[in-house]
Symmetry: C2
Subunit: 301 residues, 2 copies
DNA sequence: GTAATAGTGTCTTTCAGACAGTATGAC
DNA sequence: GTCATACTGTCTGAAAGACACTATTAC
């Protein structure tokens, strides 16, 4: 075998916060294209991969603690243009970090928060999804599936991913939808859909973000991760709108209250908060729930 | 910064099959210690990480297709003794492969199937768990938590992981339990529990296996992955015992039947199979279920 | 008073667990 | 017939969705 050039290992981090009912992702700009915080893995410095991710977050976002979880490792050929130009393979371990939006020293370091639906406008059922889906995406999918010889495979994927023909919409299938649109864009008649339907990101960072959104939407249902994104004390309305922002869908308020309150995942603080209407009770996360239920999350379907 | 030695990237694969109501994992032997199939990532050869994993599986197990899923990437310092001896950092991307036990050309290549509970005897509620847990593990955990200054943290972890003091047993928390026992073993009085409580594996492969078991136990509930492990036609009893083997617990047969049959995840083949009692109807997986339900799995709690 | 938000009670349907009992084969 | 396994029906309680309703603030 020829002499092997070793792969280069790096870290990409998806840092998520929620502000004003909008989920935000932390980005920097490369030639005007948003990219995720990232850096090289340094074996001499980093005892573990997670510590490497923490170092990157600390250096680039001033973020020193908080929830951090390994997402997925990305290593496709040519995912980094430096490889196309004769460089080595760049493999990246993706991490998901959750934080309060104020815990990040953002502007000082050249970073910016962006509503994540800017990159995936079809993922927000509260906003523009219906029109985008019906007017643009569904017709494109129909043409794409009709054009294929392996018709059944494409059609089935599109149907499951986008809930066509009566199939249910699964809000966790963010990556599957992105990949349908991505492939569709590479075919004739695809009209470069993926580029016009939402904002692009540097390298494969949009794919990494799609992976993160899907993971977070799943995890919220069986792990108490929402609480990493809101303050220590919160009203049930705040909790609800945070969940709605992440899930990209609206929830029925009375049922949400009941589900959350009865699940034991929160407890009253005793304090109230002023609103423009009746003042709201505030709540806090109740860690003991972890010992009481095997899958303590927020019940959304 | 000193000149950086780049990390070396590899693949470790957990290949799972089920035979005779026992979940099996494919291993090879290094100095008598079982290890997982593994190999170096070769950028020149492998267009993607998944294809690298498939190459490893093909070379080492003669396994050319089937279900394959990325698990987790392991990169802790000193996870490979070659690093301790001055070598570079060895980072490994773990993969989970599911297969019928006959699809692997096992003996010819020096591999062997092992019941995975051999490495985690406390994970099987159908077998020896109750005694091991009550007589050995729980007393060790009590001493371990009592000895800690940050009592609350350790005690809480042990309580949640092992279902102490009325907390529920979560059969997905395989890694959390393994890590409790691992840490416990490094403290005085730990009696090297992790080494005596189950068989050791090479490197950190036991941790990788724990990760795989936990992932599979979770996934079975919302994705039709069991069907990768059994033949195309199967009786409901076979399906049940396969699920029980993976989950490490017994299920109530009449309810299991009803749940599975009504969920639309299977359909009758029309053929029957002889048993030692009344002949059983055989069923097959029904792929259309993917388009009907967002989370088509086997309903177990 | 009205508007706005917070919060409660109840009805209905669905679903999961428990259990009793029947069906069909081998011997 | 007995034994073993396969399979069905029904009861019960828990949980989830829909909806009508009340409470407390600002103005």
């Amino acid at each position: 075998m020829a002499e092997e050039i070793p792969a280069r290992l790096g870290i990409d981090a998806v840092v998520v916060g929620v502000c004003d009912e909008r989920p935000q992702v932390l980005t920097f700009a490369t030639d005007g294209r948003p990219r995720l915080p990232s850096g090289a893995f340094a074996p001499a410095l980093d005892r573990t991969l997670e510590l490497a991710a923490r170092r990157v977050l600390s250096d680039q976002a001033g973020l020193r603690e908080g929830y951090l979880e390994q997402l997925y490792t990305f290593g496709d050929r040519h995912r980094d243009p430096r490889e196309v130009a004769g460089g080595p393979r760049f493999v990246s371990v993706g991490y998901l970090a959750l934080t309060g939006i104020d815990d990040v020293n953002c502007a000082a370091l050249g970073g910016a928060w962006h509503d994540w639906y800017r990159f995936f406008p079809w993922e927000d059922a509260r906003g523009s999804r219906p029109e985008i889906l019906d007017r643009i995406i569904v017709p494109l999918l129909r043409r794409w599936t009709a054009a294929a010889r392996d018709d059944a495979g494409r059609a089935f994927r599109a149907r499951v991913a986008f809930g066509l023909d009566g199939a249910p919409w699964n809000n966790e299938a963010v990556l599957e939808r992105y990949e349908c649109l991505y492939e569709l864009s590479t075919t004739s008649g695809g009209a470069d859909a993926i580029a016009t339907l939402g904002e692009a990101m540097d390298l494969d960072h949009r794919r990494i973000l799609a992976t993160a959104i899907g993971r977070l939407r799943g995890k919220i249902k069986y792990r108490p991760v929402v609480f990493e994104l809101i303050g220590e004390a919160f009203t049930l309305s705040e909790l609800q709108s945070t969940v709605e922002a992440l899930a990209g869908m609206e929830l029925h308020a009375p049922n949400f209250r009941r589900l959350v309150a009865e699940s034991g995942i929160v407890e009253r603080t005793g304090a109230q908060r002023r609103t423009s209407g009746r003042p709201a009770e505030t709540y806090r996360f109740r860690p003991d729930v972890l010992a009481e239920r095997p899958d303590p999350g927020i019940g959304i379907r």
